[in-house]
Amino acid sequence: MSFTEPVKKTNGTIREVTLGSGDGAYVVGGETALPFHTFEGTMPHKPAIAMEVFDVAPEGWPAPLVDALGDVLADPVAWARACVDTYGADMICVQLASTDPHGNDADPEQAAATVRAVVDAVDVPVVVYGTGNAEKDTEVLKKVAETVTDTVLGLGPATEDNYKAITAAALGYGHVVIMESPIDVNMAKQLNILATQMGLPADRILIDPSIGAVGYGIEYAYTVMERLRLAALNQNDSMTQMPMICNLGKEAWRAKEARVGLDEEPTWGDHAKRGVLWEATTAISLTMSGADVLVMRHPEAVRLVRTAIDELAAG
């Protein structure tokens, strides 16, 4: 019996979503096949890496992160520049940790000013994440949306509880909304339907499926993302055809296996390599199940995932 390549054609296409503006604009999505299945479809835009910048110096980060980024952790603008100039980030993701009502509870104006400064400092698109507190995020993201109007930001997370206000703000100023749903295909679709019914164009939505790191529920995210992507490609299901963004840096580095040194776990091996690999294996797994934007933290993990993406995309 002779071998025929089992190529599968799909019916659907992932929407292209543009972030940023002018020469610095970046398009994500556009795939007509499963990730890197370039033997049967196209992947016009490689998955983008958005490197994280915190608007307030993070505390308690494990040694591998502090060693790699220590010089810039207290200065969001310098941090963003290092990510773009030194580490080749495709985008910057500003984590507005200062606004956490359980923490600094910084006011929206201050957060918006930081986003403004970062946008001015780099020539790549900027994605902005609040802390996940529905009420505070609404205030903060509204302020950010109206403060930065000269470029297309990604704003999130918009959830069941606050998507209306965030969508309304994004609509007015031309931004992209990151719709976050709790690891559930139907809830992801439902939010997209509700937002588009408000008039938000479907190509201004990114799906954040809520992900866990390796060892902390990645299998659920992996499978939900695969199912979303298969529905988008095979069933041509319009409300699943948005590109996906995975906010994974925080999840990977929250894992005990990434956090603790050899003093606490003497049999777990070199802490720096282990931590970097926790983030890199988390990121590449999510890429294999359909991620279009990876929010990442450690420069070395970024390098690994970028190399793997380039090689996989080259076919």
Partner: protein
């Protein structure tokens, strides 16, 4: 092509003798159709039927066992392309390769033996040691003997000529090593060795067509336990080969590719060992069954083994943490005492957040059939009666100065009833989200 259970049934003796281990011929036929049984199990089937059933009666992907005894591993037998379609069956084996002329053989083998971790009541471990010949038969044999004497892990023997392979097999054939590899230039001799010693065999050739030609040759010679190596030059080629092989086996029932795949991510990573591990993750997600690494160090093994545990978990049967009291960070009589459900993810996230709060605590995991907090509560598995029994049986009453138990915020509504059930205890409602535990603990201490 694929026959239905009824098509197969017509070709069976229809005596319902049960000699195949299955009570009726119809049930056996159904199992054959699903790939859950093999025609050989029926001692009475006619030669004509055998021919007629042919490839259709074979499971679409062969299961192959390497090694002997407790350390042996089985790979293959996979039935789906995506884990949500059913489940992935046999976890990929991860192991380390050492060259026969390496000066650090002992260290590598020791690292392989040491790469053994306990997680959610499962042992995650390095699966094998591969020894690669440096080109001379005596040197290869000596290295293989050295490795074999230092580890009970299964072995993979890697050599280009049958002379080298024969020398090594003389030493360790009884451990059923995986022979790597039959190639276009040595296939006849390697196939003969695999047959003589009843060892599983890798066939290695560039690309799927060349591999299929070799597996057909080996199968024609009577070998069944085959593994394929498509020699991809890049990560992209590896993905394409693996996806095509899995689809061809499962969907086209193309028997010549219905075997587990062995991968060498180090061959594509240019000596960058972190990139090698990153590629190994891709290989594992996309159908690599045996993954050969250049290191067995814990920093490389741990992320891959944990990812494997996740991806090979049956989506219908979530992993469960052992129901008991966990001590986190040297707790004392004044430490907080949390309870939650035994869904492994709940356990991991809650314990991880308690740890990051840097205050010692007790975490009680209540048997609740692997459900998350709200689901378990709704299903009657995480309810006051059960929690009270767990707390009473836990011996925590003697360990704590103040009898105080902290329940998840998601089930705040049960605090009153639980308080009534738990005589002498104070029930405290903890945070709704695990991420708020560090702040909660800090506040509680002040």
């Amino acid at each position: 092509m694929a026959l239905s259970g009824l098509d197969i049934f017509k070709l069976l003796p229809k005596t319902n003798c049960g000699d195949c281990g299955i009570p009726t011929c119809l049930a056996f036929a159904m199992k054959l159709a699903q790939g859950g049984a093999e025609l050989d199990q029926c001692p009475h089937v006619s030669e004509e039927s055998k021919t007629a059933l042919g490839a259709a009666a074979q499971p679409p992907m062969r299961g192959v066992t390497v090694g002997t005894g407790n350390d042996a591993f089985t790979v293959g037998d996979e039935t789906v392309l995506f884990r949500h379609d059913k489940t992935f069956v046999n976890p990929s084996a991860l192991g380390v390769m050492v060259s026969a002329d390496a000066t650090d053989i002992d260290e590598v083998v020791d690292a392989a033996n040491a790469a053994n971790f306990e997680r959610v009541q499962q042992t995650l471990a390095c699966g094998f040691v591969a020894v690669k010949s440096a080109g001379d038969a005596p040197g290869f044999k000596a290295a293989v003997e050295r490795v074999a004497s230092r580890t009970s892990l299964p072995l993979v023997l890697m050599a280009e000529t049958s002379a080298e392979m024969e020398a090594a097999l003389q030493a360790v054939a009884d451990r059923k090593p995986l022979i790597h590899a039959a190639t276009q230039s040595n296939a006849d001799a390697m196939i003969a060795l695999a047959q003589e010693h009843s060892c599983p065999l890798v066939v290695r050739a560039r690309g799927l067509e060349a591999v299929a030609a070799l597996t057909e040759k080996a199968a024609a010679a009577g070998l069944k336990d085959l593994v394929i190596d498509t020699m991809p030059a890049t990560a992209g080629e590896a993905l394409r080969d693996n996806v095509f092989a899995r689809r061809a086996a499962l969907e086209q029932k193309y028997a010549a590719l219905g075997y587990p795949i062995i991968t060498f991510p180090g061959e594509r990573s240019g000596g960058d060992e972190l990139l090698e591990v990153t590629y190994a993750a891709v290989d594992m997600l996309k159908y690599g069954s045996i993954i050969v690494l250049s290191t067995a160090d814990a920093w490389a093994m741990l992320p891959l083994l944990v990812l494997r545990q996740n991806i090979f978990t049956d989506p219908q049967r979530p992993m469960q943490a052992e129901a008991k009291i966990y001590e986190i960070g040297n707790p004392g009589p004044d430490s907080p005492f949390f309870v939650t459900t035994n869904f492994s993810l709940t356990y991991f996230i809650v314990s991880s957040e308690i740890e990051s709060g840097k205050v010692g605590a007790y975490l009680g995991i209540v048997e609740s059939e692997g459900l998350s907090v709200l689901t378990a509560w709704a299903a009657g598995k995480f309810v006051p009666e059960r929690i009270a029994k767990f707390v009473n049986d836990s011996g925590m009453a003697e360990k704590l100065t103040n009898r105080e138990v902290i329940i998840p915020g998601a089930v705040a509504q049960i605090s009153g009833e639980l308080g009534e059930e738990l005589d002498g205890w104070n029930v405290v409602v903890g945070p709704y989200e695990a991420a708020e535990i560090p702040a909660f603990v800090k506040q509680r201490a002040s």
